[in-house]
Symmetry: C3
Subunit: 192 residues, 3 copies
């Protein structure tokens, strides 16, 4: 399995878990968990694919729907054992954001060949799932609360595209993009 | 006229009326009525068609725009004679949800052949119009108020796909899907 | 440069500036400025292109991304010198709305040939950028505050399509559409 496929699964799965954690904080029933997990897990990638004009990933691979559903159901049973659902939400969201921003940049570059579009797609893919989650849950959108959020996604895309453009291989570019995006977001969480 | 075409018109028309009823509750002018009717009537189906990668239904059939406009204008003149706009809103929304969820599942199955995608499309088609309506009207999204909402759409899609998969004909599958989705939602309204 | 290309740039650029002005009112950092400028500047046109089934304009022409970014950065440095950011926001938004509604109607007509779809696309193109901006900034959507907003976009599209249909040339049709849409919105602002 290549690193980008891995980052794709990490992004979708962990975003789905954050959606389910919000459902838990809002005391929704299990269908609410599944719906918020699905929208958060697939939202950013869906808009990315629509804008790129390629088939939407989860229509081609319904496996992703199963992944989000399982993530929602497991979270439904586990969430109330967690000490701080909000802290889990923030940190899992940070990992998901970093992973999915790099994957978005990868797919944007693959489809259009333009580094500029690639970075924008990284920000959209990484950022929109969380934005949709917050709008649906009637919370102030993630953008308003902590805008270093989108900056971290941009860092991931820029590092990935930059290193790849310098001729370094996919694994290193994606790995470094992920790590630096995560560190950017972590820094904001830890010292923000 | 086949039953699915009928459910499509019922879904679009009644959702449009619920959008106009919200416009009435918010005391908007007639353009506000038309806009909310259009977004609510066509929103779920538009996202469904975009995700399925097929032409958007009302671009192919501008008749649907006329339908939403007429529904909005009639509601504009009638709404203030109604005793409880909110009750009308809830019950018309329940019929629209049931009808449009089954139609969404039908179209999802037709385009992708996947029962899983069909059920997801039923939920999206049935549920998103109401979600858009509430977000635009700055009300807490329907999801947060009563999540049995989406469960009812899921019931409609599951019953339709299941019965059809068992070899029963379209009319019975769609009819039963509609009735059971409506009963699920009605139960929540009556005893919720 | 044809008048419609000019209206396209005016619409995207000024909407981007209004997004950045909202970012300024919300005291976001520069990434927040860029993000809100991008969503407001490209949002309406993106939905228009998706629904029309044509390539999204800024994926084909990444220049528009640069335009929105420059608009955001300039606004970032200039906004705090303005006496009333809110008045600037309202009036620039009025010009953008009028310009972009006519361009949306032009593109809708070009792609589908249907005057009805053209007018709807004018309203969507002109109106959705502002709606997205307000939802993301957690403000009551523009629709709820002043619904003459969408009526002005509709006026622009109707005039453009009507005059063009009467056999008058593009420049006059687009120019009059723009002017009358702007006057409609201005009237609402000045006397509303």
């Amino acid at each position: 399995m290549s690193i980008v496929i891995f980052l794709d699964f990490v992004g979708v799965t962990l975003f789905a878990v954050t959606g389910a954690l919000v459902a838990s904080r809002k005391q929704l029933d299990i269908i609410g968990f599944i719906f918020l997990a699905m929208v958060t897990g697939t939202g950013g990638g869906t808009v990315r694919d629509l804008i790129l004009g390629v088939p939407v990933f989860w229509v081609e691979q319904p496996l992703f729907i199963l992944v989000c559903t399982v993530a929602a159901v497991l979270t439904f049973f586990i969430a109330h054992f967690l000490e701080s659902r909000y802290l889990w939400l923030l940190w899992l969201d940070a990992v998901a954001l970093a992973a999915y921003a790099v994957f978005g940049a990868y797919k944007g570059l693959l489809v259009t060949g333009s580094p500029v579009i690639a970075v924008v797609m990284g920000v959209l893919t990484g950022g929109l799932g969380g934005v949709f989650r917050d709008i649906l849950a009637s919370e102030p959108s993630v953008l308003m609360r902590k805008d270093i959020y989108l900056a971290a996604a941009m860092v991931g895309g820029l590092i990935y595209v930059g290193i790849l453009g310098a001729g370094v291989d996919q694994f290193v570019a994606a790995g470094l993009g992920f790590i630096l995006a995560f560190l950017t977001r972590s820094g904001a969480l830890a010292y923000g």
